[in-house]
Symmetry: C2
Subunit: 359 residues, 2 copies
């Protein structure tokens, strides 16, 4: 049984973004070095950007999250920090959704570990603690703020894999539900569903971790309150979903996902579908494995007045089906967690192809 | 809004005690110094004691928990460590219930901060991070494993107060539910109720912290499953109550208790009632403020076949009632959390005296 780590230090609450300067002050005093802010490009020119507690010599880098992070994009940011700053920064602050948070974690790690992002895709490959890192999520659901990974696409190796390491955990979080008030409605819903999905996958699997189970159950309770009984974007629901995302991220670090994430990863590799919408597309077609959850997803969609996810596999070719299957079945751990060691007999090519054709 | 801290690193699971040596190895390598084990005297000569991963020069100190920790007892342990070990220990490992865990935290802090325990009773008085500390609870309920305090009686000043500081948080926890299998049944129940009580107090108060609320709700769910629907000492329930205790401790660090703890503190100061049984005695007589919770407590007692708590106030004198009231009403924060700023009008002397007379 391995040691479990999550972020043990956080500020939570409406308006707490104003405390970012206070969180940074001791870091600036100890290190005597500038701070690097990585900000989701969604906030370019926004009020949030003008409220960044940036000082002279600090660096503000905009993260284009049109596509998900790649090893190349992470290497690019790392290089820009190195070229501008001759010292190790006092802190890296990542402000945005899962892509920006993951980029911030990866850059922080690469500033203290030699080489390139691709060198550290995998389990426990980092040798040194990264630069002190603070995560500030502006959308709730991915759990990236609490997880011990930072996922990157690697085009050369055709893999999507994170730097899975205790060093990929943020040192502190600033959780301000006000920051999620400007998220477009469909994106808000699909991202919230990420928490719902990884928690039902975790609880439906064979592997059990009692602390993760508790985090997952409470996260699901909050998802249901917010998505079935209220407007998901009300202040109260945004607060609940921010807690749910943190708990779900803490849970999934100590457990495993199931069938949804591998299928979604297939879509991501072949069609470049983003993580959260990909999960929704997958769950929507996985009634055979998750009958109650797929139905509840559709109920949540109805309550929140969100249209069905787009069809991505219309006209899928046989070649693409092979690619989709390969990129799905490679995820042995979550599939075994959900279906047992003989998962490839259950989710064989024909079964998977019939599922994909409907997505 | 202050920053929240809890223990972010832990090993959880049946049999995980065997991993204590693995947790200590990196500390030994970095520090090149011995380890100090503080072990609840309940385990003197036990199998657990023989399984301690102690090496040459390590120190094993037995903690007599007949009475709760005092500033004097903590100073005594600190002196013994200093006299035996000319270096800072590599780690302090506290193995036991709340009293032992709190003693371990306090000793760890005093090994790096000059002066005596009494100098640090209060809020944020410690200047230096303590010796690396690992908590190993052997009974579930107090939440001491996750809290940011270590409570000590101070006879000279007639107060019961902790070193409330981020430095009073364990660096790592080892949570092995097997260790709670030998707890005497009544003590097991009354200690489990500590989690139940501080969670209902927190959720019943005016102050709200959404993360603490989630921790409290999930902890209560686990308490109810274990105490109403199962034998509380079954392996499954012991596991759940260990999670509940950790969550409850994490919750209470970010919120406030209510009326039960102040009344219990009064009993503690006047009759030296231990914390957990004192809470049960108090809740059992506080139907006016906690009607559903007091009734649920008695249902749990019935299900688990636990006798009512002893009467401690039979024949209480007027002088004692004054002392009880003074030692209760001094807890302004929790009382205001439960009853509002005019708490002293609601819980006036006559009201409190009528409650105490029935305890």
């Amino acid at each position: 049984m391995a040691i479990t780590k999550t972020v043990g230090e956080y500020v939570f609450g409406s308006g707490s973004f104003e405390q970012l300067a206070d969180l940074l002050r001791p870091r600036r005093e100890i290190e005597g070095a500038p701070v690097v802010f990585l900000l989701d490009h969604f906030f370019a020119g926004s009020g949030l950007m003008s409220r960044l507690p940036a000082e002279d010599d600090d660096q503000i880098l905009m993260v284009d999250t049109t596509d998900e992070p790649t090893t190349d994009s992470v290497d690019g940011f790392t290089l820009r920090v190195r070229e501008t700053c001759d010292r190790e920064p006092a802190a890296v602050v990542a402000i945005g959704g899962g892509s920006t948070l993951d980029t911030g974690k990866a850059v922080s790690n690469l500033l203290t570990n030699p080489g390139q992002a691709a060198d550290y895709q995998g389990w426990d490959l980092l040798r040194h603690r990264g630069v002190f890192k603070i995560g500030v999520p502006t959308i709730s659901g991915t759990g990236a703020e609490a997880s011990r990974t930072c996922v990157m696409l690697n085009a050369e190796k055709n893999i999507k894999l994170g730097m899975i390491s205790e060093f990929s955990i943020f040192d502190q979080l600033l959780l301000d539900p006000d920051l999620t008030s400007t998220v477009p409605r469909e994106q808000f819903f699909h991202t919230a569903m990420d928490t719902y999905i990884h928690c039902v996958e975790s609880l439906g699997g064979r592997f059990r971790h009692p602390v993760a189970d508790s985090f997952s159950k409470e996260a699901l309770r909050l998802c249901r309150e917010s998505l079935l009984e209220d407007d998901m974007q009300s202040p109260g629901s945004r607060e609940k979903l921010m807690v749910a995302s943190y708990l779900g991220g803490s849970a999934i670090g100590n457990s495993f996902v199931g069938v949804v994430h591998p299928v979604s990863a297939g879509l991501s590799m072949v069609f470049h579908t983003h993580h959260c919408i990909g999960n929704c597309i997958a769950l929507n077609g996985l009634d055979e494995f998750y009958p109650e959850e797929a139905a509840e997803f559709r109920r949540m969609r109805d309550v929140q007045n969100i249209p069905p996810p787009p069809k991505v596999c219309t006209g899928v070719t046989e070649d693409q089906l092979v690619q989709l299957y390969d990129a799905t079945i490679v995820h042995a751990k979550p599939l075994a967690n959900a279906l047992g060691d003989r998962f490839a007999d259950i989710l064989n090519f024909d079964k998977a192809a019939s599922i994909f054709r409907q997505l």
